[in-house]
Amino acid sequence: MDGDEAALPRFIKITMKILIVEDDKLQFDFINNAFSRIWAPDKPEIDRISTESDFRKKFHEIAVTNPDLIIMDVMVRWADPSPNIPVPPPEIVEQGFYRAGLRCVKMLAENEMTKNIPVIIYSVLDKSDMEDEIPNLPNVKYLDKDFDPENLKKAISSILQP
C-alpha cells in the first residue's frame, strides 16, 4: 500500500480492478473463480472483453479506468458473429486474426496512459513462439495457461509487487 492509500480514511475500501481479455466463456469463468479464491474475501472488480474489436473500441475507457491488472489471452477473436461485423483495419487483415492479444498488448505498451498497466499474457501458446512480439517491459509477463490457480496467483504477486 503506497502513501496515498495509507492516507485514505479506513472506511474507504480500495477494490482492485481487473480486466480479463478472454474470448472463451468457460475459461473466463475459471479465471474469475480463481480470482475469487485468491482475493477472498475481497473479490476484485472484474471486467471482461471478449473480442479485439471491443478492446479497440473501449481502449480510451481502459486508459481512463486504468485497471490494476490486465489478463490477456492471445488467440482472441476479432468480433462476435453478427451480420454487421466491424471492418478490421487493413493491417490487421494482413497480419491475420491469430494473435490478436499480442496486438492489444502492443497498443497498451505504446500508449502513455496505459503503458504502465501490469499485463499478464495468459496463453496456451509457447512463450518461445511469440518472444519477439511480447514487449520487453517490466510490467508485461507471460504465463502458460495451465489453469493452475496457484501459478496464476504467483504470477499476479510477482507483477503487482515486484
Binding site: 488467440m75 501458446l125 489453469f147
Partner: protein, 644 residues
Amino acid sequence: MRQSRTRSDINKILDEPEVDIKSFDTIDQITLRLRKVCEKVSATFQCIETSLFLENRLEVENRYDLIATTFENWQGKKGSYLPFKEEGLTGWVLENRRPVRISNLSQFEKEKTNLRKEYEGIDWKDSFKLKPTAKKYLEIPKGSILPPLSFMAVPVTNDRKLLGMIRCCTARKSPWFFSKGQLELLKLVAVQIGRVWNDWLQNIEDNEEKKTWKNFVSNISYLNARVRESINKGSVDENTLYKQVLDLAGNSISQAESMSIKLTSGLKTHEIFPDETPNSSRMARPAINTLRSGKNSLFVHQDSSNSAVLSVSASDKNGSAPNRPANLGNSDSESSSSGGELNIPINVQNEMVGVINIQASGSKPFLPNAARIAELLGQQLGLYLSLWHSEKQQRQVFEDLWHQLKSPVGQVYARARSLLQGITYKNWHPDDLEIVNEIRTEVLRLRSVARKAKRVAVNAGVFTNLSTKGRLSLNSKAVGRLFSRDAERILTEGYKDTEILQDTYGIHFFFNGDSFKRLEEIKVRVDYDFLEQAVNCLLDNANKYSFADTAVTISGSEIIKDDKRYFYISVRNKGFRITSTEIIKLKERGYRGSDAKMVTGEGSGIGLWVVDHIMGAHGGQLEIIPTTSEGWTEMRLLFPVLLK
C-alpha cells in the same frame, strides 16, 4: 568431264578428305581451317583478297563476323563484322542471297545501268580512291591509275538458311576478270563451307547441351538434397531457396544475363544478376558453382510490379498455351539484335503463383535447351514450394491441434481437482440438493470441455491417418446399426454440451427427436465414434458462426439422391452466408472463410474436411446447402440406407 574437273578443283580448295569437324573444339581451330580455305581460293583464282563472313549464332545472331581472310594485316583479330544491312556489294549478297560477279569494278560507273538491271538494287558507293597502304599492298605506283579489279561474292547457306558469304577480289595488272565458271566453282565452295560451318556449330551446340544438361542434373540433385533436408528440418528459408534456383538457372543457361522470380502472392521480386560480363569465351567457360559460393551473384528484393506475370497473362490471352514458358524475345526476327527473354510460370497445385524471368544479354541468343531448362526449373520450384507449403500446413495443423487440445485438457484437470477439493473439504451431505446441483453443473461443464478435447483428439487422429495412409477406414468394433435412441442420445448430449460452451449472446438449439423415429424402420450402419465426431463438428460450427439470438435446429430425414437412398442428420443455423461457390472450398483442408476467420481465435480449419472424409468412409456424404433467402444454412450428414 567438266564436272570432274570442278570436283577436283573443289577438292584442291577444301583439302579433301573431309574435315573432321568434331576435332575442332574452339572457334580458333575452325577459323584457322577456314583461313586455309580462303588462301586456297585466293591461290586458285589469283585473288588479292578472299574473305569469309559467317554468322556465329552461338554468340550473336544476325551479325556476320569476319571469320577468315587472306588480308595479312587482319591477323585473326576479332571484332570485324559485317552488319546485315551494310550497303555495297557484300551487303547486297547477304540481303538478296544471290551470288554476284563484276568483271571490272573500275568500270562500275560506266556499266552501272547494265549491272543494276542484272543485280537489282545493287550499289557501289566506294570512290576507288584507295588508301596509300592499299596501293602499296597492290603494288600500284603512286599516281598510277587503278588496275582492273574483278569482284565476286557468294552467299554461304545451309538448308536454305543464310550463314554468311564469301567474297574474292582480283587485281592483276593485265586484264583478268573472274569468269562465270569461277563463280560457279565459288558457289560450290560456299556450299561446302556452309555444311562445314553448320556441322561445327551443331557439334558445339550438342556438346554445350550435353555439358549443360550434365551440369544441370548434377546441380539439381544437389539442390533437391538440400531442399529435402531443409523441409525435413522444417527450416526452409524461402529467400535462400529462390536464390538457389536462380543461381542454378544462371549456371545452366549460359546466355542468361539477369534473372528474377516474381511472385503474385508475396508481392515480392527476387532478382539475381550474374556479375560476369558476356564475352565470346562464355561458351567455353567452366561452370561456376554459385550454389555453393553464391559470391558471383547479386540478390535483390523489391516490390513487384508483376510485369512478367502480366506479360505471361497477356500472352495467354493472346492464345498461347497457358502455364507454358513464354519466350518474349524476338530472337527469331532477323532484324533484331536482342537476346530475348523467357518467362516461366511457377505453378503450385495447378495455380500459377509467379514466374521466373530470364533475360539474355543484348545480343546473345538463348540456346535451344534454355527454354526447356527454364521450364524444368519452374516446375521444380513449384514442386519445392508445394512440398514446403504442404509440410508447413501439416506442422501448422498439428500445432493448432495441440493448442486446441491443451486448453480443454488443462481445464478438465483443474476443474476436476477443484471439484474434488470442494467435495472433500466442504461440509456437505448427499441430500443437500443445492450442493448436488452445483456438483452436477460442474460435472456437465467437465463433460462439455472433455467433449471438446475429444473432438480435437479425434481430428488429430483422422488427420494423421489421412496424412499417412491417404484414406480413412471405419473401426469395425465401433460400427453398428443406428437406432433412434442412439441418435437422440448423441445429438442431445452434443448440443447440450455445446450450449454450455457458448457465450452470452444466446443461441437456442431445437432438437426434433421424432424425426429420428424412422431409424427403427430402415437400416443405417454407422461408426459411432465417427458419427459423434461429425455431429460435434457441425454443432460446434453452428455454435461458433451463428448470429446472436438465433436458433439452431437438429433433425433427421430421408432423401433419394442420385438414385441412392440416404438417411440424413441435418443441422441448420442462421449465421454467415455460404454461397454455392464456397461449398467445395469449405471441404478443403485448412480453408476458413473470411468471416469465419474473424470470429474464431483458434482452430485448425480441418473440421469439415474431416467430416467429409468420415462421411466418405461411410459411403455417404457431407452435403452443404447454400444459405437460403431466409438466412438458413444447412449441413447434412447423409448415410446410405441399407437394404434389409
